[in-house]
Amino acid sequence: MEDSTTLKQEKENQQLAEAVQPWEEETAASPQDLGPESFGPWEVEWAPDPGPRPRSSRARTPEPVGPVAEQAASSSPPSPQKPLSTLARQDLGALRQLDRITNGTLDAGTPLSDPPGQSTDARESAPPSQSGQDTSALTQQPDPSSKPSKPQELRPGSAQEEAWSSHQNRDQPGPKASEAAPSTLEIAVQNAKVYLLRASSKTGLNLYDHLSNMLTKILDERPENAIDFIETISQDVKMAHFSKKLDTLQNENEMLPTYEMAERQKALFLQGHLEGADQELEDEIAESSLPNVVESAFYFEQAGVGLGTDETYRIFLALKQLTDTHPVQRCRFWGKILGLEMNYIVAEVEFREGEDEEVEEEDATEAEERDNGESEVDKDEEDELPKSFYKPPQAIPKEESRTGANKYVYFVCNEPGRPWVKLPSVSPAQIVTARNIKKFFTGRLDAPIISYPPFPGNESNYLRAQIARISAGTHVSPLGFYQFGEEEGEEEEEVESGRDSFEENPDFEGIQVLDLVESLSNWVHHVQHILPQGRCTWFNPIAKNEEEEEEDEEKEEPDYIEQEVGPPLLTPISEDLEIQNIPAWTTRLSSSLIPQYGTAVLQSNLWPGAYAFCTGKKFENFYIGWGHKYSVDNYTPPVPPPVYQEYPSGPEIIEMDDPSVEEEQAFKAAQEAAELAPEDNEETGEGEDDADN
């Protein structure tokens, strides 16, 4: 304890050395209690606390020097110093000496061996000034002064005795003279200290310890303008007091998800550690279907679009993991869709020929519908209920994989490091409904979509539908990059439904960046437009209807449905419709300051978040956003359709109208008349009889 205090004093001394000088001027004030003064040396011992209390603490520094040294030497409490401090105070000269001593102590760096000699001197000079009157410095804060003194006073008196004995040589005149004075001081100090050490009834803390902790903290950290937020510091110290009692296990739980994620991502980095000869490495490089994500990210960064370099790299590694585990022909980082709870990172993948992993789900749904139709027929026969002539509209079959909207397969994951999940193929009904609803993604693929019109599927289907729409609407490439394939035999059929295949143009020479920026006709869509039907190639539902309805008695007149036509593949984007006088696309040059090395950047105004860049020869598309289309007017949900005339209206099922008031009254009157009539008849009969008579 003593050592710590002495060390504290050491520190305090060193720290307060500078303070000593200003203090010196202050000492000339009028004296006050003896009490506070005597506290000086004690305060020193209690090093950090006096720090913020400017003058009083500083006042004490000179004393501590001496006592510190002495204490170190004698390891005795400062009690003897009390008188010394009071003496010292009064004499400015003495103080200056002490000051020098303090400085000397500081310079020495080592604690206590040196000071004793010096402090002896100091003390010798100090004592004469002892009068216990100069409390100028102490004046201002009697309480704090009492604090430091308290601890020391409480030390067993024996220590005091020892100290005295060790100092006898030097301090003869002073101490003896002041011996009498400290007694009242001592008592006052003791009282003050007892008050401070009194534990709070609520929290068990006491002011003394709190103040010492606080000042320790301040002196350790040395913040600027500490006075401005001293209250906050006080609160923090209090809170720290409690937080230590928390179980370390609790903190572990908090960080667990972080560590978990970090482990997963570490696995990403380690997957590349293939043990093998260079042969494998070469193979890997030759067959790599991995896109150069980092390069594209660099160009997108020029446009101000991007996920941050390290996140992009992690996504890169995750894509590599995807290509390693699945037979992928080509893979592309499609983009990121934000969600409420989690986000989706989407990869566009094209499987190798013949490696299609699609499950035939379509048959199942079709079979269901047929079953429903049959069961309805059975019911009618049994119950003889009016036969509904409602036929659900022909379900439009979804496109085969690798064609149209299902040209690519999409994988999503929530964060790089998590497993990739394959999204199901999209059906036209899903696309049509997705056009009519607007919902945020939650981040969980199995979340239900509750909407009107009801969406056939859950979030994974909705996500897939939106991805299909965004791809169809915003995937563009520079003019000439893709060209139509060589003429094939069945060209006529293709012409009808629109060309749907293209290939890279080996002779593509690149377009000037400036041209790309200036004119929108230099960009073309390379994904087929999705027709209102929900497919890319028109499907005529009537043809099938005729086949199926041959059995039915009632034959509807085949409605003539116009073939839906959309813009053919590779149309320039300048043909895109405008949104209320705003062009559908905005072009920018990535850097206006250095145009020669800039890239052309294309932003979609229809799908905010869709970007494309092109640097002459290289180009890439990217999407980052919430996954919704832009519309100037607010979204209005579609109105439910009018009640459908399901049944033929005939006398059996037509509802009788309720009679109107007049009809009711007429009926009532008629009824009454009918009742009265027999009575009348009787009366009239009687009357008649009378009449006859």
């Binding site: 913040p223 401005d228 937020f229 209250e231 906050t232 510091i233 923090d236 908090e254 960080m255 998800p257 972080t258 978990e260 994620m261 970090a262 997963r264 991502q265 960064e301 020029q302 446009a303 101000g304 679009v305 991007g306 996920l307 941050g308 370099t309 996140e311 990121k336 934000l338 969600g339 409420l340 709870e341 989690m342 986000n343 964060e415 490091g417 609803i437 607007k438 919902k439 945020f440 209320q580 705003i582 062009p583 905005t586 990535s590 850097s591 206006s592 300051l593 250095i594 932003q603 105004n605 980052i624 956003g625 919430w626 919704h628 832009y630 100037v632 007017d633 607010n634 979204y635 949900p637």
Partner: protein
């Protein structure tokens, strides 16, 4: 986001995908220093970017000592030359309600809309509104609606002014996912409506702002942990494009708005 920690903040906010290109970043670093010196602001915040059809607006805000005092807003088209915007007023806000659609990117562009005069039988008045005014009110609306800070980042002195809390060490992980740990960075509106019981639990120096818990519509904030759980990101669904990030247990926090400057009025349908 603070201009002092611009680079780190941009990196942390990059999860939303839209940020700044390197040349803009470099330009901002230099020009914001100059703005701070010229206008003598205590702190300069890079507020964000409003995307226009032709050009983008880069917005910065300057704060004085008192963090809650009205802020000065500046805008620039090239991140080098900044112009001060006039303060927002109520009547401007009402005018703006009629203007819809994207920002053009030209500050002097005028939106026209006709105001139907019901009182008089005169012709409908065609009101012209400048894009600059629209910019002012949109920024003001966004600030009032979604600008947020974590609890404890600011504290109120007994004399009134609000200062940055230098002993703020970040939210602990357990608190970081709760909406109640984040406050609106504007004059509190709903504090008086709290019951006495609630008020008793509040710390007057730290809890003097509205928390996000009672925002209407409920669910208009999306809280996520990114970067393997080491970063908390709040995104506003009412003003899509607004991102707030905070690294728990550190002092890093900030917000940025990169978007078209349009409110998402379809929010109730989308939740």
């Amino acid at each position: 986001m603070d201009a002092e920690s611009l680079l780190l903040s941009l990196e942390l906010a990059a999860g939303s995908g839209l940020g700044l290109s390197p040349d803009r970043r470099a330009a901002l670093l230099t020009s914001l220093q100059l703005v701070k010196r010229d206008y003598r602001y205590d702190r300069v915040l890079f507020w964000g970017r409003i995307l226009g059809i032709v050009a983008d607006y880069y917005i910065a805000q300057g704060l004085s000592e008192d963090q809650l005092a009205p802020r000065k807003t500046l805008y620039s088209l090239n991140c080098i030359e900044w112009s001060l915007l006039p303060p927002a007023t109520e009547e401007r806000a009402t005018q703006m309600a009629m203007v819809k659609g994207r920002f053009m990117g030209d500050p002097s562009h005028e939106y026209e809309h006709t105001e139907f005069q019901k009182m008089t039988a005169e012709d409908d008045v065609v009101v012209q509104v400048k894009e600059e005014t629209r910019l002012v009110s949109v920024i003001d609306q966004i600030d009032k609606a979604v600008a947020i800070i974590p609890r404890g980042a600011l504290f109120k002195t007994p004399f009134g002014p609000v200062h940055v809390n230098r002993t703020f060490e970040g939210l602990p992980l357990s608190e970081a996912r709760k909406l109640s740990s984040y406050f609106h960075f504007r004059e509190p509106v709903g504090l008086k409506n709290k019951t006495l019981l609630e008020k008793a639990d509040l710390d007057p120096s730290l809890d003097f702002l509205d928390s996000l818990e009672h925002d209407i519509p409920k669910g208009s904030w999306s809280i996520q942990m990114e970067r393997g759980n080491s970063l908390v990101v709040l995104r506003s669904l009412l003003w899509p494009g607004f991102t707030f990030f905070h690294t728990p247990r550190t002092r890093n926090h900030g917000y940025i708005y990169v978007g078209t400057g349009e409110k998402n009025m379809d929010l109730p349908f989308m939740l």
